[in-house]
């Protein structure tokens, strides 16, 4: 992979790494270097083209070594949390481990949210934290914290390098562990004296980890059993998660779905693993899934979970989740199988390998799809209960009935004669989806309503074009993640769908985008509230908006964008949306679109916490599904 060095240098701050003396080539011949240089050589050997790093006292040797690297570019964020989210966004869009480098103490402490975020979403990261000298570890030295201790519960593994001789092996292992099996973040804590000690550098060719042998291939007998279940199912459903993306198994997923005509629901983490304009795609399940998606899960007789973990945001009340179904659970992590839901057919393995084996068996046995009626049933629900919006301002003009995946049904964006048009946040997302339909686009999100509307109304087609904080739900993730995504895919249009609350959590990274030439676009669905908190307060706390009122006016996001040297534009009317988005896209640099949207719009439908997923608030009335089945299906269900 070539170094991801931004072309444009719009500001005074240059990405480091150019113009220094040429480095000797291959590492196979031992060479005397200091630990910090050895670390950089290791990164080069791993093909790392970019690191996101914030320096500090004990990290200086490492940054000094990075400064002379011809192959590794260094991007300076404005906060260590930003550095880790950037590495995360880079990893999600490139499929390669992201790398962040920070100093000890507060630098390391500031990475915790980013590391935890990557841990819960199984994203491969290598985070190098500098540490105080080995001689003073444990003495509460200046900027000392017990980094491997505080990161322990949120890392896949971690290392404290006490001897420079262990460094190359450690880095080799760290990358191997981060990227294989169920991916995750690995921390390397590097004391400053280790960074300065000399070593004859040679990069090891292999790792030796007797306790780490992920099962990649599914068990043959289990695969045969799964195939038998698939062949006999009348109402099968694929429930695909982030494991599809991690295993690069999108093609196998599509082939399986098409061969047996099995509808596919993708989780938020699995978005992009299956084209959302495909007739077999039936949406995202769970708390803010479409009714038809959740009804399908409730009625399926065979739930095929692939790389998904039955998270509570998907299952709602676990006891009533997919109760009519046999369950095939395919996951590379044996601990996920049976954790929340007992599987009738568990298969431990890599999604790509297992789906390939299943496909091969299905083809060998010339299995025929039997799902015509089932698909017709789901399509009926889809027509009856589409995603729609416009609940907050009843009686006003614009009502969208858009469906994720099919774009823009119903919304026009024009004012009616009866009054001023309301700018709905969903409409903005729909327009964004329509306007980016024919160009390479990566969508990142913040967390909350903005994220759920992005899930519902943006239609994704390609793997690794969706970057969103799932497990941890980290506000402030979207902007730095967008910068990382832009670094991985310089030619893509990268758009952060943001809320006015979340964007302020890492707004400082606009400077990073501006000065390093990453032209990311931030579309803020500005409703003046911490919107999802406000929604829960409206629904479950008697509209007592405790600490959820922020402001649509403060800060002035347009002026703030301009203060950072970015393009800022405000949208208050539906008719202005297209022009503002296009102006932002066309601007040669980062841009902020401040959309002043309907303040009290809710994300619907919604499964109240603790409810069954077929009992949904909002949306088109109707349900739970069992009351709406026609006699034929009802008979079959009961039978």
């Amino acid at each position: 992979m070539s170094a991801q060095r931004p072309e444009s240098t719009q500001g005074s701050e240059r990405v480091q790494g150019s113009g220094s003396a040429p480095k000797p080539g291959c590492a196979s011949k031992p060479e005397r270097v200091i630990g910090a240089e050895a670390l950089v050589r290791c990164l080069e050997e791993e093909g790392v083209g970019i690191v996101f790093g914030y320096p500090g006292g004990v990290a200086l040797p490492i940054f000094d070594a990075l400064y002379s690297s011809e192959k590794v570019a260094t991007v300076l964020p404005r906060h260590e949390q930003g550095a880790v989210h950037m590495a995360d966004g880079y990893a999600r869009t490139s499929g390669r481990p992201g790398v962040a480098v920070v100093t000890s103490g507060p630098g390391a402490a500031n990475t915790i949210t980013g590391i935890a975020n990557a841990y819960l979403d199984s994203i491969p990261l290598v985070v190098v934290t500098a540490q105080v000298a080995t001689a003073v570890i444990g003495t509460d030295a200046f900027q000392e914290i017990y980094t491997t201790g505080i990161t322990l519960p949120v890392t896949k593994h971690s290392y404290l390098v006490k001897d420079v001789a262990e460094l190359p092996q450690t880095v080799k292992e760290a990358f191997h562990i981060a990227a294989t099996g169920r991916p995750g973040p690995v921390v390397i804590d590097m004391p400053v004296d280790v960074s300065k000690s000399e070593i004859d550098f040679a990069y090891p060719a292999s790792v030796s980890l007797p306790g780490y042998k992920p099962s990649v291939r599914g068990h043959g007998r289990q695969v045969k059993e799964a195939v038998a279940l698939i062949k006999s199912a009348r109402r099968p459903l694929l429930y695909a998660g982030g494991g599809i993306l991690a295993a690069e198994a999108s093609r196998e997923l599509k082939e399986t779905a098409e061969l047996m005509q099995i509808p596919v629901a993708t989780t938020m983490m699995g978005k992009g693993s299956f084209p959302e304009d495909h007739h077999l795609w039936i949406g995202m399940p769970g708390m803010h899934g479409a009714k038809y998606t959740n009804f399908a899960i409730t009625e399926t007789d065979l739930l095929i979970a692939v790389g998904a973990r039955f998270d509570d945001r998907v299952t709602g009340k676990l006891a009533s989740f997919a109760t009519k179904a046999r369950i095939i659970h395919i996951d590379i992590d044996p601990a996920e199988i049976g954790k929340n839901k007992v599987a009738d057919c568990p298969i431990v393995g890599d999604a790509k390998n297992v789906l390939s084996s299943i496909l091969a068996e299905l083809r060998k046995s010339e299995a025929e799809p039997k799902t015509q009626e089932w698909i017709a049933k789901i399509d009926g629900w889809r027509k009856q209960f589409p995603l729609h919006y416009g609940t907050a301002q009843k009686g006003t003009a614009q009502k969208g009935t858009g469906q994720a995946g099919t774009g823009l049904a119903g919304s026009t964006g024009t004012s009616s004669a009866s009054g001023p048009a309301v700018l709905y946040p969903q409409f903005v997302v729909e327009r964004l989806s329509a306007l980016t339909k024919d160009r390479e686009t990566v969508i990142t999100t913040e967390v909350g309503q903005n994220q759920m509307w992005a899930c519902q109304f943006y239609s994704l087609r390609e793997p690794r074009t969706w970057v969103s904080s799932g497990g941890l739900g980290t506000m402030g993730f979207g902007l730095p993640a967008a910068i990382g995504a832009q670094a991985a895919r310089p030619d893509a249009l990268v758009v952060d769908i943001a809320g006015d609350g979340s964007i302020q959590m890492n707004i400082q990274e606009l400077a990073t985008a501006r000065l390093n030439g990453y032209p990311v676009k931030v579309v803020v669905l500005n409703n003046g509230f911490l919107g999802m908190v406000r929604q829960w307060q409206e629904l479950f706390y008697g509209r007592r908006y405790a600490s959820s009122v922020i402001s649509q006016e403060v800060p002035d996001l347009v002026m703030l964008a301009e203060a950072y040297g970015c393009f800022g534009i405000r949208v208050t009317e539906p008719t202005e949306v297209d022009a503002a988005l296009l102006a932002a896209f066309e601007f040669d640099g980062p841009a902020v679109v401040d959309c002043r949207v309907a303040p009290e719009e809710c994300v619907y439908p919604m499964v109240a916490p603790g409810s069954s997923i077929d009992e949904m608030l909002g949306g088109i009335p109707g349900g739970p599904v069992s009351e709406m089945l026609d006699d034929e299906v009802a008979e079959e269900v009961q039978g």
Binding site: G149, L152, K156, H157, L160, P210, G211, D333, P334, A335
Partner: protein, 163 residues
């Protein structure tokens, strides 16, 4: 679900911090450790951690899988008491005025325990055995007054199956 006591034998790489990784995992996933013993194995690069904990079967399976996922963990076994040998070591310092010393020594002999220290008013007794034997001794010595007691965690091995 019924909580059952299990003995987990966890073989790990003998490296710094590995015990913390294992025990903090128990804490994080909400498991209480009843007893813990750690020492090297026949191979000095490996250590054996013996953990006694109470758990329902389903949650035990979950914690076992989570422990197994740790990079430094080589092997996890849930030992079947019928198929394994288990031992604990206890030191009792028992109140022993001269007139009652004889009785206490008798009890120790019955359990094949050893007197390892004799004080003016106390006897220190070393005993090994399975948990129930150790518990039975403790019960008997309580009648005399146990001044102090130290008890190791349980260690265990599966029985030889060579034959």
């Amino acid at each position: 679900m019924a909580q059952v006591q299990h003995t987990l034998s966890v073989v790990v790489e003998n490296k710094p911090g590995v015990l913390t990784r294992v025990t903090s995992l128990f804490a994080r996933r909400g498991f209480n450790i009843d007893s813990l013993a750690v020492g090297t194995t026949e191979d000095p690069t490996l250590s054996r951690i013996t953990i006694v904990c109470s758990a329902a079967d389903a949650s035990l399976e979950q914690i076992t899988k989570q422990v197994y996922k740790l990079i430094n963990v080589i092997k996890v076994q849930d030992l079947d008491p019928a198929e394994s040998v288990e031992r604990e070591l206890v030191l009792f310092k028992v109140n022993a005025p001269a007139e009652r010393r004889h009785e206490i020594i008798e009890i120790a002999n019955v359990f094949r325990a050893k007197i390892v220290d004799v004080g003016r008013n106390s006897l220190t007794i070393e005993a090994t055995g399975a948990s129930d034997k150790v518990g039975a001794m403790e019960d008997l010595f309580r009648a005399y007054g146990i001044k102090e007691m130290a008890r190791t965690g349980k260690i265990a091995l599966t029985r030889g199956r060579e034959n």
